[in-house]
C-alpha cells in the first residue's frame, strides 16, 4: 500500500492537495494502533509520524503543544516528570489488537476520542484539546482554537476535530490542557454485587461529597468469579482520607466497603482502561449510555451468552458479544445511547459500520460538515461504511 510521510506542514498540504485533485483517497494514520477498527479498506496511508516533538510546554500555564505524531507514551512520561497528567486518561489500543504497546500517537488518540476511567469526571479528549493546526481535505493549512485554557473566539473547531476519526483534516500539531497529577489515589471496593445493585451503589457514590473520580463494576463472570465495584478517589492526602471515610456509611446497604491495596487497585484500573477483562473477546463492543442505562443493555445481552463490564459509573459498557449487531445497537438505543464496534472479524467489519448510525437528519448534517472540510472526499477511505451516501 502506498504511504506518504510528510514532515512539514507544506509537504502535508501538498500531499493532501495532490491526492484530492486527482480523486485519490488517503487514510490519516499515526501509530496504526486502531487501524483494525472499521471496515477493511485499501487507501494510501498518510503517515503522520513525521511530525514529532514538543513545540511548547510551560507547566504553570497548564498547556502543552506537541506535534501530532508524538507517541502518547512519550508525552505521558514528559508531563509526569513535571508532576502533571493528561486528565482524560488516554490509552493505547495496541493491546487490544495484539500489537506492542507504545505505538499510539497523540494525534490518533485525540482523533479517536480515546479516554479512560477518569473521563467520567475530568472530561474526554474533546475537553482537553484547546487548539490545533491541520490540513483539511481541501489541501489547505488552517488552525482552530488557541493555546490558552479559556477561549471562545469563533467556532470551537477543536471539539469537532476530537473524535472525528480522520474524516475532516490531518492534524499535525495539538495544544492540550494538562493538569496536576494527584498526590494520592485510593480505591474503595464493594464485593459480590449484582449489576443492578452495583449501579445503584455507583450512582449513590457519585451523588455524594466523596468526589469519586472514577467508578467501575466488574461482574463475577469477567473477574475470576469475584464481582468488584470500584470507586476511585484522588487528591491531597487529608482530603482523600476524609472522603474515603464517607463511603462505608453511605453504601452500607450494599455491604461492607473496604480500602483496596494500591498495587492491586492500580492494576485493576489499568485493566479496566485497557479492556483487559475482555481481552479474549472475538467481537468487542463499546456501548455509551446514560449511567442507569448500562444495566438494561447488559440485561438484553445476557441471554445471548455475552460478557461485559462497566466503567463511567455504568455509562460505559464494554461487551463481548458475538450475536447480531442489531441486538446490541437496539439495546443501546433504547437505553438512550449508542454502540461502537471496536473489534470484530474482517467479514463482520465489512458489513457492520463501527460507528453507531445516527438519525437521518444528523447523518445528513454530519455529511455536510464533512464536505465543508473535505469537498472531494479524500479522507473517505471506505472505513466508515457511510461513504456511499457521502456523495
Amino acid at each position: 500500500m502506498a504511504s506518504l510521510r510528510p514532515t512539514t506542514p507544506a509537504e502535508l498540504a501538498e500531499a493532501v492537495g495532490a491526492a484530492a485533485a486527482s480523486g485519490g483517497r488517503l487514510e490519516i494514520r499515526g501509530g496504526a494502533s486502531k487501524a483494525a477498527i472499521g471496515a477493511p479498506r485499501e487507501a494510501a496511508i498518510l503517515d503522520m509520524r513525521g511530525f514529532t516533538g514538543v513545540v511548547d510546554y510551560d507547566p504553570a500555564e497548564l498547556v502543552l503543544t506537541v506535534r501530532a505524531g508524538t507517541p502518547l507514551a512519550e508525552i505521558e512520561r514528559m508531563v509526569a516528570r513535571q508532576g502533571q497528567m493528561l486528565a482524560f486518561e488516554p490509552w493505547d489500543h495496541g493491546n487490544l489488537f495484539g500489537w506492542p504497546e507504545g505505538r499510539a500517537t497523540i494525534g490518533g488518540v485525540i482523533a479517536a476520542g480515546v479516554a479512560g476511567p477518569r473521563r467520567l469526571t475530568a472530561g474526554g479528549a474533546r475537553d482537553h484539546l484547546l487548539g490545533f493546526k491541520a490540513v483539511s481535505g481541501r489541501g489547505e493549512a488552517f488552525v482552530g482554537g488557541a493555546k490558552v485554557v479559556k477561549n471562545v473566539t469563533g467556532y470551537d473547531l477543536p471539539k469537532l476535530m476530537a473524535g472525528s476519526w480522520g474524516r475532516l483534516a490531518a492534524i499535525h500539531e495539538l495544544s492540550l490542557k494538562v493538569l496536576p497529577r494527584p498526590r494520592m489515589q485510593a480505591t474503595m471496593v464493594l464485593e459480590g454485587l449484582e449489576d443492578a445493585a452495583a449501579h445503584a451503589a455507583m450512582a449513590r457514590a457519585m451523588g455524594c461529597h466523596a468526589e469519586v473520580s472514577a467508578a467501575a463494576h466488574l461482574p463475577a463472570a469477567v473477574n475470576d468469579g469475584r464481582a468488584l465495584t470500584l470507586l476511585r478517589l484522588h487528591g491531597f492526602e487529608p482530603s482523600v482520607t476524609a472522603r474515603c471515610a464517607v463511603l462505608p456509611g453511605l453504601l452500607s446497604e450494599h455491604g461492607p466497603v473496604g480500602l483496596m491495596e494500591t498495587g492491586e487497585a492500580d492494576a485493576l484500573w489499568r485493566g479496566i482502561r485497557d479492556v483487559e477483562p475482555l481481552a479474549d473477546a472475538e467481537t468487542l463492543w463499546r456501548v455509551s449510555v446514560p449511567p442507569a442505562g448500562g444495566c438494561t443493555v447488559a440485561a438484553t445481552l445476557a441471554p445471548h451468552g455475552a460478557r461485559w463490564f462497566f466503567d463511567w459509573a455504568g455509562g460505559l459498557v464494554w461487551a463481548a458479544f458475538d450475536g447480531d449487531a442489531a441486538v446490541i445497537r437496539g439495546a443501546a438505543e433504547r437505553a438512550g445511547g449508542h454502540a461502537m464496534l471496536v473489534r470484530a472479524s474482517e467479514a463482520m467489519r465489512a458489513v457492520v459500520s463501527f460507528q453507531h448510525p445516527r438519525a437521518a437528519g444528523v447523518m445528513a448534517l454530519e455529511r455536510r460538515v464533512r464536505r465543508a472540510f473535505d469537498p472531494t472526499g479524500v479522507f473517505e477511505t471506505g472505513r466508515y461504511l457511510d461513504e456511499a451516501d457521502a456523495d
Partner: protein
C-alpha cells in the same frame, strides 16, 4: 457608532405586515410584538452601545412553533436573530432592522431532573441559577456560574459557552452540557448528544456550544449536575506588585492545587470596589488575589494554609483566611461589586474579555497602562487569574463626543495585545459584533473560511444571526470554490463590514 451591519433588505422591510401576519398565524395571542414602542426593550443586549429595534419580535412556546417560524423565514429569505435573556456583552443578540427577533423567554420550564444519572433537562429560557435552585435541596448544583446567572438563560450560556469564576476547576458550559435539541434554519428538529458522555459520530454538539446563535436555535438543553461541595473557604491576599501576585498564582498551580476560583484585582479595582461596598479590602496593595478552595473541610483547611504560605513566600502583606461563610461572602462581595463600582468612577465602561498566557500578565498590564495614557482613558483590571482571562474595564463618558469611539479603539488595542502575546480575543463573552472586525487579528482568511463553511453546512442561506462573529459575509457558494493564493482573496468585491 462605528459598527456596520449587513444592509437591510428593502424588499423584506416592504413586506413587514405580511411577515407579522405569518408569524401571528404560527404563534397566536401575545406572542408576536410589532408595535414600535413595545419593540424598544429588545433593541439591544447588555452591550448597550449598539442599538437597533428589530422588525418584529416573536416569542414561541413550543418547539413546533420554532420549527415553523424558522422554516417559514427560510422559505421567505427573512433573517432571524435568536435571543435568550439579552445579557450578552458582545452584542450577539443585537437585532437586525430587517430581521425577526426570536425570543426564547417562554421556554422556561425544567423538563426533567434525574439524580441517578446526575442530569437536568431544561428549556433554553430557564435561567442559569434556576437550574441550581431546582436541584440544591437534593445537594446538587450546576457548576458554570457566570456573574449574570440570575438573569442569563441556559440557552444563551450554550450559545456563548459561558464561564464563571469557578470554571478553572469545573469547566465552561461546553464541559457541562451533554445534549441539546436544536432547530436548524431550515426548520429541522435535531437531537445532538444526549445523556451519555460520548457522541456517536462527529461531535456536532461541541461546535454548537459557543456558536453564538449562528448555527441553530437551541430548544432544549441537558446539563450535568454535581454534588455541592461540602465547604468552601477563601483567602484574601494583598501583594506589593502585580508580578508577585502573578507568581503566586503560578506557584499555587505548580503545587498541584487547582482552586475553585482565583481572582485578581489591580489597585484601581480594589479601591473602587472598597469605596463601593466597604468589605475591608487592604488599600495599600498593587494587586489583590482572592483564592477560593472547595471540597471537604479537611481539604479546604489543608489547602488554604498551603496557599497562604505560598502567598507569603511571594511577599503578600495581607493573607486573611475566611473564618466563616459570612466572611467568605464578604471577600467576594467586593469582587462582585467591581463592575457596578465603576459607576462611581465614570458614567460608562466597556468590559473587555481577552485571555493571555498567565506568564505575560505583568507585561500586558504595563503595556495596557501605556495604551491608557495614549488614549487618555482610564482602565481598571479584574482578572480570572487561574485561566488567564482578563476583564479590563475601560472608563469613559458617552456624552463626551468621541469618547465611545476612543474607548472602542482602546479596547481593540488591548485585544490585539492579548493576541500578540499568544492569547485570544475572548475568553467567555463571545465575539458577537463587538470583536467581529478583530477576528483577522487572530485568524487568517483560510482559518476563517474553514469556520464559515461550518456555518454553511448548517445555514446555507446565512439567514441565522448574520453580521455576527465573522468580519466578512461570504456567500456559501463562493466559500465552496474559494482558493487563496499568496494571501490574495479572489473576491475583493464581497461585502466586508
Amino acid at each position: 457608532m462605528s459598527l456596520v451591519m449587513p444592509e437591510p433588505d428593502q424588499a423584506v422591510l416592504g413586506r413587514r405586515d405580511a411577515i407579522v401576519a405569518a408569524l401571528q398565524a404560527i404563534v397566536p395571542g401575545e406572542g408576536v410584538i410589532s408595535d414600535p414602542d413595545a419593540l424598544r426593550p429588545y433593541e439591544s443586549d447588555a452591550l448597550t452601545a449598539y442599538r437597533q429595534p428589530p422588525m418584529v419580535v416573536v416569542l414561541p412556546e413550543r418547539v413546533e412553533q420554532v420549527a415553523a417560524i424558522l422554516a417559514w423565514c427560510h422559505g421567505e429569505g427573512v433573517k432571524v436573530v435568536p435571543r435568550g435573556s439579552g445579557t450578552s456583552l458582545s452584542g450577539g443578540a443585537l437585532p437586525l432592522a430587517d430581521g425577526v427577533l426570536l425570543g426564547m423567554s417562554r421556554f422556561n420550564r425544567i423538563l426533567d431532573i434525574d439524580y441517578a444519572d446526575r442530569i437536568v433537562v431544561a428549556q433554553p429560557g430557564v435561567t442559569n441559577l434556576a437550574i441550581t435552585r431546582a436541584v440544591e435541596e437534593a445537594g446538587f448544583y450546576y457548576a458554570p456560574d457566570p456573574s449574570s446567572q440570575i438573569a442569563c438563560s441556559i440557552g444563551g450560556n450554550v450559545a456563548e459557552n459561558s464561564g464563571g469564576v469557578h470554571c478553572l476547576k469545573y469547566g465552561l458550559t461546553t464541559n457541562n452540557v451533554l445534549g441539546v435539541e436544536l432547530v436548524t434554519m431550515e426548520g429541522e428538529v435535531l437531537r445532538l448528544g444526549g445523556r451519555q458522555l460520548d457522541p456517536a459520530g462527529l461531535d456536532l454538539l461541541g461546535v454548537i456550544v459557543g456558536s453564538e446563535g449562528l448555527l441553530g436555535v437551541v430548544t432544549e438543553v441537558t446539563v450535568r449536575i454535581l454534588p455541592r461541595p461540602e465547604t468552601a473557604r477563601a483567602v484574601l491576599l494583598g501583594f506589593p506588585s502585580v508580578e508577585s501576585a502573578g507568581q503566586c498564582v503560578a506557584d499555587v498551580i505548580a503545587e498541584g492545587i487547582i482552586p475553585a476560583g482565583m481572582e485578581l484585582m489591580d489597585r484601581a479595582a480594589v479601591h473602587a470596589a472598597e469605596a463601593f461596598v466597604q468589605v475591608g479590602y487592604p488599600l495599600d496593595v498593587e494587586a489583590l488575589l482572592i483564592v477560593e478552595l472547595d471540597g471537604p473541610a479537611a481539604e479546604c483547611d489543608h489547602l488554604i494554609e498551603a496557599v497562604a504560605a505560598i502567598a507569603r513566600a511571594n511577599g503578600a502583606g495581607t493573607a486573611r483566611v475566611s473564618r466563616d461563610e459570612a466572611e467568605r461572602l464578604a471577600f467576594w462581595a467586593g469582587r462582585k461589586a467591581a463592575f457596578p463600582a465603576m459607576g462611581s468612577l465614570a458614567p460608562d465602561y466597556l468590559c473587555m474579555d481577552g485571555t493571555i498566557p498567565r506568564r505575560r500578565l505583568p507585561e500586558v498590564l504595563r503595556r495596557m497602562q501605556q495604551l491608557s495614557d495614549a488614549h487618555g482613558l482610564a482602565v481598571v483590571n479584574v482578572f480570572h487569574a487561574g485561566d488567564g482571562n482578563l476583564h479590563p474595564l475601560i472608563l469613559f463618558d458617552t456624552n463626551q463626543p468621541g469618547q465611545l469611539e476612543t474607548a472602542e479603539a482602546f479596547g481593540n488595542d488591548i485585544l490585539r495585545l492579548c493576541v500578540e502575546v499568544g492569547g485570544v480575543l475572548t475568553g467567555e463573552h463571545g465575539v458577537g459584533v463587538e470583536k467581529r472586525d478583530l477576528m483577522p487579528a487572530m485568524f487568517g482568511e483560510v482559518d476563517l473560511a474553514h469556520q464559515q463553511r461550518v456555518k454553511c453546512a448548517f445555514d446555507p442561506m446565512l439567514l441565522l444571526n448574520p453580521g455576527k462573529v465573522f468580519p466578512t459575509l461570504h456567500r456559501c457558494a463562493e466559500l465552496g470554490r474559494m482558493h487563496v493564493h499568496h494571501g490574495q482573496l479572489p473576491h475583493p468585491d464581497l461585502p466586508r463590514f
